[in-house]
C-alpha cells in the first residue's frame, strides 16, 4: 500500500493542488472557478481521447459527437422520466458506449486516417441527426436542462467534475496498465505484428472505442447539467479540435499529459478572450499556432518534455534528430532504438 501510494505521489500532489486551488486568493473568484471547471472537464475529455489516440493510434475525430450524445441522453432522461441526475448520467454513459461500440465495429477495417475520417463522418451524421430531430432535441434552439445544484457557485460543480476526471483517469490508467494496455500499444504500433503475436485486434479496438466513448458521454452529461442548456454545437468538430489540441499538447500515450495541458490551455485562452476582447479570434489563433509549433518541433508534447527532464536533466534535445546521420555520428540505424 505504501509503495503504491509512493508510486502515485505525483498524482496525489497534483490532485491536492487542484483541490485547494479554488480556495486560495487569485483563483477563488467565481470566473476563475468557472475556468477551473472548464479545465477539469476538458482534462477528462482529453484523457478519454488520449486513451484512443495515444494507445491504439486512431484519432477519434467524432469525439465531441459521442460526448454530446451522452449529454443529450442524460438530459432527456431527467426531463422525461424525472430521474435524479446522478442516475440519468448513466443513460448518457450507456448511449455513448453503444455508439462507441458501433463505431468501433464499423471502423474496424480502417486504419490510420481512414478510421479518423470514418469516425468524423459518423460524428457529423450524429450532429446532423441531433439538429434535425427537433421535436425531441429542440434542434438549434437548445434544450434547457436541469442542473445538479441550485447554487450559483461553481465550487460544488468543480469538485464533482474533478472527481469525475479522477475516476476517468484511474479507470483508464488501470486498463492501460493491464494486459489490455499492452495489446492496445501493440495494435497501435503495428497491427499485423500484433495479430501475428496472438493479439486479437478486433476485440481490443472495440473495447477501446467503447470505453473511451463511455467516459466521453459521462463527462458530456456533466457538461449538459452544468451549462443547463444544450445545443447541437456541443457535438461540432470544433469541440473535438479543442480536446485534440489539449491531448496533443499534453503528449500522446500518457493520459496524464493531456490532463495537465488542459488547465493551462483553458486558462490562457479564456484569459485572452476576456482581456483582449477587442481582438475576437486571437485566442484561437494562439491555440492553433501552439498546436502547429508543438507538432512540428516537439511532437512528444508536455509529457515527453517531463520524461526527458527526469531522465536527462535539463539537457533537453529540441526536436527529433534529422533523418540523415550527421558526420561523425553513429549510423542512423543504431541510434534508432526508441527511448
Amino acid at each position: 500500500m505504501k509503495a503504491f501510494l509512493w508510486r502515485r505521489r505525483g498524482l496525489g500532489l497534483a490532485l491536492l493542488a487542484l483541490a485547494v486551488l479554488p480556495l486560495i486568493p487569485p483563483f477563488d473568484a467565481e470566473n476563475l472557478r468557472r475556468w477551473l471547471v472548464i479545465g477539469a472537464l476538458l482534462a477528462g475529455w482529453a484523457i478519454a481521447f488520449d486513451f484512443t489516440a495515444g494507445y491504439i493510434n486512431v484519432v477519434n475525430f467524432g469525439f465531441a459527437a459521442f460526448a454530446g450524445a451522452g449529454g443529450y441522453a442524460s438530459a432527456l432522461v431527467t426531463i422525461h422520466y424525472g430521474l435524479p441526475i446522478w442516475m440519468s448520467m448513466f443513460a448518457g454513459v450507456l448511449l455513448a458506449g453503444i455508439l462507441g461500440f458501433l463505431t468501433g465495429v464499423l471502423t474496424l477495417r480502417f486504419r490510420g486516417i481512414y478510421a479518423a475520417v470514418a469516425a468524423w463522418f459518423l460524428g457529423l451524421a450524429l450532429l446532423g441527426i441531433t439538429r434535425n430531430v427537433s421535436p425531441i432535441t429542440r434542434g438549434p434552439l437548445g434544450l434547457s436542462v436541469p442542473t445538479f445544484f441550485t447554487t450559483d457557485s461553481n465550487l460544488p460543480y468543480y469538485y464533482v467534475v474533478l472527481g469525475m476526471m479522477l475516476v476517468t483517469y484511474l479507470v483508464l490508467k488501470a486498463v492501460t496498465e493491464s494486459r489490455a494496455g499492452l495489446a492496445f500499444r501493440a495494435i497501435g504500433q503495428n497491427m499485423e505484428a500484433a495479430r501475428a503475436s496472438g493479439v486479437n485486434p478486433t476485440r481490443y479496438r472495440i473495447l477501446n472505442f467503447t470505453l473511451s466513448c463511455m467516459f466521453a458521454g459521462w463527462l458530456g452529461a456533466f457538461y449538459a447539467h452544468y451549462y443547463a442548456i444544450l445545443t447541437p454545437d456541443v457535438m461540432a468538430t470544433s469541440q473535438t479540435v479543442q480536446v485534440l489540441v489539449a491531448a496533443y499538447l499534453g503528449g500522446r500515450g500518457s493520459l496524464w499529459g493531456p490532463a495537465a495541458a488542459a488547465f493551462p490551455l483553458v486558462f490562457s485562452t479564456e484569459w485572452l478572450r476576456s482581456n483582449l476582447d477587442r481582438f475576437p479570434g486571437l485566442d484561437l489563433v494562439v491555440y492553433g499556432l501552439a498546436l502547429i509549433l508543438v507538432m512540428v518541433y516537439y511532437p512528444g508534447g508536455f509529457a515527453e518534455l517531463v520524461h526527458a527532464i527526469r531522465d536527462r536533466g535539463l539537457r533537453v534535445r529540441w526536436g527529433r534528430r534529422p533523418l540523415r546521420a550527421q558526420p561523425g555520428e553513429a549510423p542512423a540505424v543504431l541510434s534508432d532504438v526508441p527511448d
Binding site: 486516417i113 481512414y114 475576437p280 489563433v285
Partner: protein, 335 residues
C-alpha cells in the same frame, strides 16, 4: 492521370463498381423523373466545383501524404481574395474580363499562400518527423485551419462579404432549365481548371516530376528531381485550386470565417469515396456526391443534405475500406 483512367476502366469491371454505376444512374434517372431536369443540371454545376476542391485534396495526399484538413480554408482564402479584388476593381465592373482577373488573382493568392505554408510547416516537419507522418500532418493541418479561420475573423471580422453576381445578363436555357450566367461561368472555369490540371499532370515536365514523387520518392531523388520543391509546388497547386473554386463560387458563398467548412466536408466525402490520393477518381466522385446531395435536398429536405451522404459514405467504406477507386498499395496511407 492516364494511368488513373486505365485503372478506372479496370475498376469498373468489378461487381462493386457495376453496382455503383447502376446505382448512380438509377439515382440520376429517379431524380430527373420525379424532380425535374434541374436536379441533373444542379449536380453538374456543383459537382464540377466540388471536383476541383477535391482534386486538390487528393493531389496533396497522393504526393505528400498530407490529409489536408485546411483545404476548406484555402477555399475561404479564395472567396476573400476574390471579394477584395472584385470590389477593388469596382470602377470597371461590368466588363467581362473583370471576373476572370478576379479568379486568377485568387488562384495566385491561394498558390502563394499554400507554397508558403508548405515551406513554413511541412518542409520543417519533413526534416524532423520520422514516424506517424500522416496522422501528425493531419493534426497540424487542423491547427492551420484554426489559425486561418480566426485570422480571418481577427482582421476582416465575421460579417458576410459577398457579391450579388459576376454577370448580370439573362439566364441561359438548357434542357428546359434556366441557369444563371454565373453558374455557366463556374462550370466553365471548373472544366478549364480540371483540363489544365489533367494536362499539367499528364504531359508537362513538372507534372511528370510530381507523379514521380508520388509513385517512388527515392527513385525520384535518384533521377535528380528536387523532391522538396515538387512538394511545395503540389501544395501550392492544390491550395490554388481550392482558392480558385472559392472565388468562382463567391456569388453563392459570401466570404466569412467559416465559409470553408461546407467545401471541406464535401471535398473529404468525395476523396474518401474515390479513395485517398486518387485525383482522377476524385473528379468522378465529385459529380456522384453532388447528385446525391441534390437528390437528398429535393426529396428528403435540405437539412438532411449533410447527414445522408456521410452515412452512405461510411456504409460504402465498410464494404470497400479504401474507397471506390482506391489504390492497391495501402501501407503508406495507413500509418
Amino acid at each position: 492521370m492516364s494511368v488513373a483512367v486505365q485503372r478506372l476502366g479496370r475498376e469498373f469491371r468489378s461487381p462493386v463498381a457495376t453496382g455503383l454505376i447502376v446505382g448512380v444512374l438509377a439515382l440520376a434517372i429517379f431524380g430527373v423523373v420525379r424532380g425535374g431536369t434541374f436536379i441533373l443540371v444542379d449536380s453538374l454545376v456543383t459537382g464540377a466545383i466540388w471536383a476541383l476542391v477535391a482534386a486538390g485534396l487528393a493531389l496533396t495526399f497522393g504526393v505528400m501524404g498530407v490529409p489536408n484538413f485546411a483545404q476548406g480554408e484555402f477555399f475561404m482564402v479564395g472567396t476573400l481574395s476574390g471579394y477584395l479584388v472584385y470590389t477593388a476593381l469596382s470602377g470597371v465592373q461590368g466588363r467581362p474580363y473583370v471576373p476572370v482577373v478576379t479568379i486568377l488573382m485568387a488562384l495566385l493568392v491561394g498558390f502563394v499562400l499554400g507554397a508558403l505554408v508548405d515551406l513554413a510547416v511541412f518542409a520543417q516537419m519533413r526534416r524532423r518527423i520520422r514516424e506517424g507522418w500522416v496522422m501528425n500532418t493531419f493534426v497540424v493541418t487542423v491547427g492551420i485551419s484554426v489559425v486561418m479561420i480566426n485570422a480571418h475573423q481577427l482582421i476582416w471580422g465575421t460579417d458576410y462579404k459577398g457579391i450579388v453576381a459576376y454577370f448580370n445578363g439573362p439566364p441561359v436555357h438548357v434542357l428546359g432549365v434556366s441557369i444563371a450566367l454565373d453558374r455557366v461561368f463556374a462550370i466553365s472555369v471548373a472544366a478549364v481548371a480540371i483540363a489544365g490540371l489533367w494536362w499539367l499532370l499528364s504531359y508537362s515536365r513538372i507534372g511528370r516530376a510530381i507523379r514521380a514523387v508520388s509513385q517512388d520518392e527515392p527513385g525520384a531523388l535518384m533521377v535528380g528531381i528536387n523532391v522538396g520543391r515538387m512538394r511545395t509546388l503540389t501544395f501550392g497547386i492544390s491550395s490554388g485550386l481550392a482558392a480558385l473554386a472559392g472565388a468562382t463560387l463567391l456569388f453563392q458563398f459570401p466570404s466569412f470565417p467559416f465559409v470553408g467548412v461546407k467545401p471541406l466536408y464535401v471535398a473529404w466525402t468525395v476523396v474518401i469515396l474515390a479513395g485517398l490520393g486518387n485525383v482522377g477518381g476524385a473528379v468522378v466522385a465529385g459529380f456522384i456526391i453532388a447528385l446525391l446531395e441534390a437528390n437528398t435536398g429535393f426529396f428528403i429536405g435540405s437539412a438532411w443534405e449533410d447527414v445522408v451522404p456521410f452515412a452512405l459514405i461510411v456504409l460504402i467504406l465498410a464494404v470497400r475500406p479504401t474507397g471506390l477507386f482506391g489504390r492497391a498499395v495501402r501501407s503508406v496511407w495507413e500509418q
